[in-house]
């Protein structure tokens, strides 16, 4: 009993438990449909690149993992979520493709500006959006979700304007790199890994992580203790915008185009879900980046599994919404208190029976 409690009390219990559950569903599904039971885990090399469902999940989950890095910081520092990340992704992608193709051009094979300029432009656009959100939240004390609601609806519209209401195609091999393959490895996996490693090192080697948590736990006390609370929150939002920018470039490169209406659609839910699934409280304070990353890939595994089970992409949000509700309910203080009361009652009943 005690051992069980120790395991369930571990920080990474929730995400890993969900991951195992998803894998179990997959194995069960493969057996039920008469395939090899461990189809899910097979990795092979086809056409010179890695192939397999696990690789697919790692590849497709890159954007969510990158977003989850930024989202974790935002949730921790400001006790609110940035719901504009999906739209900002789309805006960054549109801006990048507009730079690469030139304004008003809907399809191009040659780049109008060097690749680096376009990509950096896109990422910078993400940072700019993050800075806008951060300014509203940190310096004007607007509720995070309302502040980010502005860009949630405006960013996509601005992206459409930049692209002159068109889907801009950039059919250039050098641009395809970010969503394609490096050797036999899908590049998005590498990009996501680099982002995560840089962030982890930054949080481990500097006091930034500590500062962020301290601001998230008590903003006023941190300020009195000498931290510039507003600046730290601002930086978190800029990092979140940066992450959205990078994710946007990867997303655009994958389909070699900027489809403002569809890039990053519903990604804000996935990113928030990843953070919640990673065992982080959405009320701010302490965070666990590793949990969020595992959470992100778990979300992608759920999505892939849902598609494999024949659920359409329009319907998938229903299941994810239910999962979000279950997770936040488990984390809710009144629910925890209720469970504690129940277990105390049970213990009392047991004690009574023994006596």
């Amino acid at each position: 009993m005690n051992k069980l409690k120790k395991i369930t009390g571990m920080a990474l219990f929730l995400p890993i438990f969900c991951m195992v559950l998803v894998m179990a569903v997959n194995i069960f599904y493969d057996i039920a449909s008469g395939n090899f039971a461990f189809n899910f885990f097979t990795i092979s090399i086809r056409n010179g690149v890695l192939y397999g469902r696990l690789i697919d999940i790692l590849n497709r989950g890159s954007e969510i993992a990158i977003l989850a890095v930024g989202m974790t910081l935002v949730v921790s520092a400001s006790a609110g979520t940035d719901i504009s990340v999906g739209s900002v992704m789309s805006l960054a992608a549109s801006f990048c493709c507009m730079l690469l193709a030139g304004y008003g051009v809907s399809s191009t094979n040659d780049l109008a500006v060097p690749l680096l300029v376009g990509v950096l432009g896109g990422i910078l656009m993400g940072c700019l959006c993050g800075a806008f959100n951060g300014f509203l939240v940190a310096y004007l004390n607007v509720q995070p979700m309302v502040a980010t609601l502005i860009l949630f609806s405006a960013a996509r519209a601005i992206g459409l304007l930049l692209c002159n209401n068109l889907i801009v195609y950039v059919r250039n091999d050098s641009f395809k790199f970010f969503g394609g393959y490096t050797g036999f490895m899908p590049t998005p996996i590498i990009i996501a890994a680099i982002c995560v490693i840089i962030m982890m090192v930054l949080l481990k080697k500097t006091a930034l992580g500590l500062y962020i948590q301290s601001v998230g736990i008590n903003k006023k006390a941190s300020r009195i203790a000498g931290l510039n609370s507003a600046k730290i929150i601002f930086v978190c939002y800029v990092v979140c915008g940066l992450a959205a920018g990078i994710a946007g470039i990867v997303g655009a490169s994958r389909i070699s185009s900027a489809d403002s209406n569809n890039i990053g659609l519903n990604y804000e839910l996935d990113a928030i879900l990843a953070v919640a699934l990673g065992g982080n409280s959405l009320g701010g304070g302490k965070f666990n980046l590793a949990g969020s990353i595992i959470g992100a890939y778990t979300i992608q595994a759920i999505t892939t599994t849902l598609y494999a089970l024949g659920v359409s992409s329009d319907v998938a949000p229903v299941y994810k919404a239910i999962i979000v509700l279950i997770i936040v309910t488990i984390q809710a203080p009144p629910f925890k208190a209720y469970m504690k009361r129940m277990s105390a009652k049970r213990a009392l009943a047991k004690g009574g029976a023994a006596a």
Binding site: G80, T81, I83, L136, L140, N141, V142, Q143, M145, V146, A147, L149, I150, L151, F152, S153, A154, R156, A157, I158, L160, L161, N165, N266, L269, I272, L282, G283, S312, D314, V315, A316, P317, V318, Y319, K320, A321, I322, V324, L325, V328, T329, A332, P333, P334, F335
Partner: protein
Amino acid sequence: MKGKKINSNTLLLLITIGLFVVMYAVGCVIYSSKGFTHLQTFLNILINNAGLLCIACGMTCVMLTGGIDISVGSLVAMDCMFLAVGMEQWGLNAGLLCVLVLLIGLVFGLVQGFCVGYLEIQPFIVTMAGMFFARGMTAVICTDQVSISQNAFFVGLANMKFEIPFGAYTNSKGVLQVPFVRLPVIIALVVLVLVFLMLRYTKFGRSLYAVGGNEQSATMMGLNVKLTKLKAYMLSSFLCSVGGICFCMNTMSGSVRQALGLEMDAIASAVIGGTLLTGGVGNVIGSFFGVLINGTISTLVKTNGKLLSSWSSIAVAALLCFFIVLQSVFAKMKDSKK
């Protein structure tokens, strides 16, 4: 101190009304040749935004408690799809379907209200889950676009014209044009008046303000904060369903991508109308003008004809941003005076 507080809040409302008047006057001057000065243009704004007005009333009630409801746009899409599929494919009675839609709204609001009030989960997270749930359920009902054409009763309701006895004019072809409104406008105005009276004169209305003003003191005064919140979300989803029916009468169709971003318009209308995001301050009359400003912006963009439709959502977002900043500046001023 108290007199000062009321002043800054009425100031927000006055800015809103002034903004609407200026915006409409500018439209009248620039587009007078395109018929902007006719009464019908104004009535069309009402007709097109009747659904939004109902939703904004509900949103105002939720925002008074300090919460927010971003599930409304998806809920409208689900309602429209349910109505469309129910009439066209299942051949059900339109009246029965409307009652069912209202019931769905109540249940939807009950679940959200329970999560917010009793489980103390952040309203944003709960209603965001609700938003994706409703959008997904729309796709579960049907993934195609369904238009309503066969149900004579519903088509008749939607096409009903209520003529207004003044403001008639003769158009360029010499035909007398009598200004009119449609049924959704009447429903929306009735909702507006009822919610206004409820907020001002009923115990529930006053407790919404009390809960939003200060939750702790509301609890100490003996108000049931949890129940009040639950009722607020139920009211919002219910009014959203009423708005959904109005919306459906305008579009006469259901599709998965319908009413995308409507939650943004509703929130913007309430905020522009002077409802504070922190709760406790606000009024549906302000939200009414917020809706009108919203409608005027999209009418201006449409009348221009050359601008992309994305401009209207950018303009609304910019206005929302402006008013949020204004609110925060007022709040800071109030803080520094204390």
